[in-house]
Amino acid sequence: MGVKDSAISIKNLSFQYKTQENEKALNNLNLEIEKGQFVVIMGPSGAGKSTLANSLNGLIPNFIRGKYEGNVVVGEMPVKETGVSKMAKKIGLVFQDFEAQLFSTNAKLEIAFGPENFGIDREKIEEIIKDVLRVVDLESFGERHPATLSGGQKQRLAIGSVLASQPDIICMDEPTTDLDPLGKLQIFKIANNLHENEDFTLVIIEHETEEALHADRIVVMKDGKIIEDGKPKDILKKVDTYESLGLMPLQIPLFFKRAFKTEENELPLTVEDGIKLFKENNLKIDDDLYKQLLDKDIKRENGYGETVLKVSDLKHTYPGGVEVLKGIDLELKKGEFLAILGHNGSGKTTLVRHFNGLLAPTEGNVLVNGLNTRENSIYEIGKHIGYVFQNPDHQIFADTVYEEVAFSPKIRGCKEDEIKQRVKQALESVALTGYEEADPFMLSKGERQRVAVAAVLSAQPQIIILDEPTTGLDYAEQRQMMELIKKLNEEGHTIIIITHTMWVAAEYAHKVAAIRSGEIMKFGKTRDVFKEEEELLKSYLKTPHIVQMSNVLNKTVLSVDEMIQVTKKRG
């Protein structure tokens, strides 16, 4: 293969947002991407990934202004001078927030928007629409209003609407962050199909390390610079670098590195290679050590208290006549930690909104600490059960962190001293002591998420529901958030989380409920549910690598730490 033409060429690029004083979002960055490459860009929050993406089509510096230095050439066009709308023919940009980038009345018109801007005639647009709908697998959805599509379908439409201008480079900025497992899978499928075209260049910013395996090249960023750049099989072996950056390392190499100090270049990346090495090295999962794990599970279970939440034959039908919940039975004891899994539209959110009385059952009952949600107001039920919504920005409103956290005890009529005490405790719990006077809107996403948790904690509910508490956070922030929730659980709170992130459920939840089409498909101890990998896959729930590896060995471990605990040399 000869030297390919350059698709993207970035020289000494620096950018400083107007809000930044000393630090820079991009700091003297250099990057060359060849035509036809599939590049995954990774990095912790604040590394400058989105800034880089927005520099590729000229949104920076033409739309988002700031101090710009250096030179970016994309598809042989100087980006800064060319302007955003003209760059659209060369490079398509897809954003994480799929709601905000769709604006047409139906999918066809959404796709037509780009070609219309370029003055393409009607017959040709008709052809483009047909092609694009096929590529993004939305052929039967042409007449549908974008608002009626699922999250994954919306994101696919967003990709389609950008492909319609027929660029030969596409850059997606965390396209799968807000998607369920099926939605994610389909986006990667489209990416892989696009990659089959040798001249099509693909740049994806992604934090799912397992998915980066399929790329041609991984670029790792930190503090506005590129610090690692190479083939996935080389980069992904650097598990220590990944951990220290706050990125999720692959579990299989991490296990061998931690347990046996295996040399970096010999580390296996996939489950298959992991098992091969495991067997070659004469390793086994020790029965006695594994039994200790199971005993620990049982001991934990015996420590639970009385029933705090009882859901019996819960059905819910929306006004349009759609039955979302088809008879759910669930019981939760004090001190349990439950993860609810399932795809978008399976009824997870509808289910948990019954727990605190936001929704009333069409049939059946929900009892919280013995109180029927039908007979008690949200205000009453809210004393027992707190609900942290997915997006902290949907609830934060106060000027200071203190005011935000004090809101709940205040409207519940607590005295000044009591309020102070509660805010102090809540902020301690989320490790935000000292932030009392900070403006919540100036904090990072991870910190805002913690403020939202503190704001619910200050009402001192026994049960806490968290809707996707790790979405939009990088790995280090996800860990921090989950450790925090674990601590709350150990202090006696009963925890319910909704999550799409399988390793989070594996490592933290005691029990798992997998929901499919309004019914509980699997419910039980996390270990027992994750054993049934095939069943879970039917709902597109893919167990983490380390769980897959242990399942091949006929045992089920839930984390790298557990795997290390139970592994022994034969003989």
């Binding site: 659209a88 139906n106 018109l109 928007f113 070609p115 949907h394 709940s408 809107f441």
Partner: protein, 254 residues
């Protein structure tokens, strides 16, 4: 939850050229605003409702029925109490003329809202902007107008989520007097505004990234042109409006 007003149906009203519908909307406003007589206003409202039935848009009217009723009652009460110059005194400051004027004003506003609703229920946003462009409104202006309409459902659905989030924290919107209630809306209004600002920013970036403003010459995937039905509806609408102007000017009714 579906917050969008456009109803994807194939009716005679849906098939009309957007320009026809814009002109009919304008005619309905002119007619409604001209009169203060409750009987003739009722007749105009009835015609508008029939137009709505033809466009199968009544489902949307059901969604705003509370607003329609509130406007009618509010107008009735306010005008009954404040109307000056009525001669048939009924009770205190309330006169028969005041009540009739209140009824007329209520019908007038409801008729205009219904007419607007029928328009939005039967016309795609893209058709609205294309219609405006064909009526010599600059594309950017036409697009801005249709985008403003698009923001409404976005704001409604965001605020719906925010209401749920805040009531989960104990915000109780149902109790308290009017002043304490207004204060309670702060935790709803601030996150809503900030979310909308954030969304519109991404929206603007997505627009630019899809080539918005590439050149003045833009093609259109939708094809609109005036058909037989358009001429029929336009003639009826314009004749009706002229008829109304005539009886108003001659002074047959007020």
């Amino acid at each position: 939850m579906d917050m969008f007003l456009y109803l994807d149906k194939n009716t005679i009203v849906h098939r009309l050229d957007p320009r026809t519908k814009v002109i009919l909307l304008f005619c309905s406003f002119v007619m409604a605003l001209m009169f203060t007589n409750p009987y003739i206003l009722s007749a105009i409202a009835a015609i508008i409702v029939i137009y709505g039935v033809m466009g199968k848009s009544l489902a949307n009217l059901k969604r705003i029925r509370m607003i329609l009723i509130m406007i009618f009652l509010l107008s009735l009460v306010l005008w009954s109490l404040s109307y000056k110059g009525g001669s048939t005194q009924l009770l205190g400051p309330i006169t028969l003329e005041g009540i009739l004027f209140g009824v007329a004003t209520g019908i007038k506003f409801d008729a205009m809202i219904i007419s607007g609703m029928v328009f939005l229920s039967s016309t795609k946003m893209e058709e609205i902007s294309l219609g405006l462009v064909k009526m010599k409104v600059p594309y950017r202006g036409a697009f801005a107008f249709s985008t403003a309409l698009r923001l409404v459902p976005m704001i409604v659905s965001t605020s719906y989520t925010i209401i749920q989030a805040q009531s989960s924290r104990g915000l109780d919107l149902k109790s308290g007097n009017i002043f304490s209630r207004i204060k309670k809306y702060i935790p709803l209004v601030i996150p809503t505004i900030l979310s909308v600002i954030r969304n519109t920013n991404v929206f603007a970036m997505a627009l630019e990234s899809k080539g918005f403003g590439y050149s003045e010459e833009r093609s259109n995937y939708l094809n609109i042109y005036l058909k037989k039905n358009d001429y029929v509806f336009l003639s009826l609408g314009v004749l009706l409006t002229i008829g109304c102007i005539f009886i108003r000017v001659v002074g047959i009714v007020n």
